[in-house]
Amino acid sequence: MRRCIIVGKPNVGKTLFLLALAESLRVKNISLLRELPDGKRMAVSYDIREAARHLVDPAPHTTRCLQSVILDLPAGKGRKRVEIIDTTGLSEGVHRDPGVRKSMAQTLAALQSSDLIVHIIDAAAAGRGMDEPPVGEVDQEICNYARLRGGYCIVANKMDIPGADKGLKQLVQTLPPGVRVFPVSALRRRGILEVRTYVGSQL
């Protein structure tokens, strides 16, 4: 099965994007396979309406393991079964918590073996100029790495927040040409379909 990995900085909405993607495919019950940094695996299942409450939080590093879901993406006339992997956010600098560092190492390892990389960037933060330039160092490096690998797109998330469109513009200007950027609001379920179509066509 082809693997699509969702990466990005902490708190950009990776998990919420995964849930929005599953919801767009009318998944009622989402079953996640969790792989903890120490190698333990466990399966959890949530009602899709409840899932966000359990898995998403305004605090950074809510997700500290790989959690993957298997989705049937529409591709061409048919459907393709792909594994979508949600990961631990990659922070700027060395994180002080060894547990988080271990999870980030796990994310990087998973990155190596994936077929498609969906890179999520917080467009609203980019617009507020919270990190100068709009694309931080980690984002820059993810982009450089992923472009080499082929199979890469950027999701500019949080487009529902005022000022995010400015961030999107800055983002597009800073990025190297030829990188696909999809404006999305995972919270309001906007723009998910475009990403889904792209992912389906790339895998």
Partner: protein, 335 residues
């Protein structure tokens, strides 16, 4: 000394874990590793912003559209069949627009692309179906795009229940591609008790069930196909695409002959061309079975090539020209 071995993924990951590397540094190192191992020098092989990735992107883009161009070019290289070509182009455009409409959240029809090909034998039905398979594969409409060619005997069984089983087997083989049923009207002959009806029922069910993964093409003579469709009211609506393959004209047949010879590195001398035209005209005037048909031309050409070989076999010192040339005496009407 470096805090990690930049060529080794595990050492990079360990570096992140024990806090000696930031995720960005790790990504940079991983980039070097996947870039071809030259990262050992610690120097980035592909400096950020430089084209290797873009090049690869371009290549992928080319790979995406190139085979489609190739398949379309192959279709264009067929002699005649203008109506068929324009219809195929229509279908290709339709598929593309429906896809874009779906992306923009506009109402889009599900892609039902089952087809009926009617025309005499040797008018290019199978060839077109094979090329369509390639085109649809490249457009992402079909997974594999292969062509499974079957006829009545492959579908209809010998006892009750056998037919559905045989038909399903062929459908399974064709999954992801095109199931091409030649002389499909023969499924409906033989009256009420014939097992052909069972085959039709199984096919109709499959084309609904697997409409995402299978394209069904029914092919056969024009009149027979028309009455076949009339006899099964449900069929007409299930096959939205109907392509007619007209007989080739004499000029087209001659073009086909020349194309065939050119591909095999032979050529006709003017006398031989005259002879060939004469044979084709008289065949069509007599309205024999294979007239207006590329297979007839191919048979004449194959025979001519053999007769040329026979004519040259005993000659010493053959020139290149002689080896290529088909003369009048090589062309013959038939055995």
């Amino acid at each position: 000394m470096l805090a990690f071995d930049p060529g080794d993924i595990n050492s990079v990951l360990a570096g992140v874990e024990n806090g000696r590397l930031t995720p960005s540094q790790a990504l940079e190192a991983l980039r070097d590793v996947s870039c071809g191992g030259a990262g050992r020098s610690g120097k980035a092989v592909c400096p950020p912003g430089l084209p290797p990735a873009d090049e690869r992107g371009c290549q992928a883009a080319h790979e995406g559209t190139w085979p489609l161009h190739q398949a379309m070019a192959e279709l264009d290289s067929l002699v005649g069949l203008e109506k068929v070509k324009s219809l195929v182009r229509e279908i290709v455009a339709y598929v593309r627009i429906q896809r874009i409409r779906a992306q923009r959240l506009l109402a889009s029809d599900p892609l039902v692309l089952h087809m009926i090909f009617s025309g005499n034998p040797g008018t290019g039905k199978t060839t077109c179906a094979r090329i369509l398979g390639k085109i649809f594969k490249e457009m992402g409409v079909l997974e594999k795009g292969h062509l499974v060619e079957v006829e009545r005997a492959d579908l209809v069984g010998e006892y009750i229940g056998h037919t559905a089983q045989k038909t399903r087997e062929q459908i399974k083989r064709a999954m992801g591609g095109i199931l091409f049923i030649d002389e499909a009207y023969s499924l409906a002959r033989g009256g009420e008790k014939d097992f052909g009806k069972e085959a039709i029922d199984t096919l109709v069910k499959a084309m609904e069930d697997y409409k995402d993964r299978l394209i069904l093409i029914l092919a056969g003579y024009r009149e027979e196909m028309a009455s076949f469709i009339r006899s099964n009211p449900g069929l007409r609506s299930r096959f939205p695409v109907h392509i007619e393959f007209p007989d080739y004209t004499i000029e087209e047949l001659i073009k086909i002959a020349q194309l065939m010879l050119k591909r095999r590195e032979y050529k006709l001398d003017p006398e031989a061309l005259f002879e060939l035209r004469g044979i084709l005209v008289s065949k069509i005037a007599k309205n024999e079975d294979n007239t207006g048909n590329a297979r007839l031309v191919r048979n004449i050409i194959e025979r001519a090539v053999r007769r040329q070989a026979l004519r040259l076999a005993d000659k010493p010192d053959l020139s290149r020209e002689e080896l290529m040339l088909i003369r009048r005496e090589d062309i013959s009407e038939g055995p």
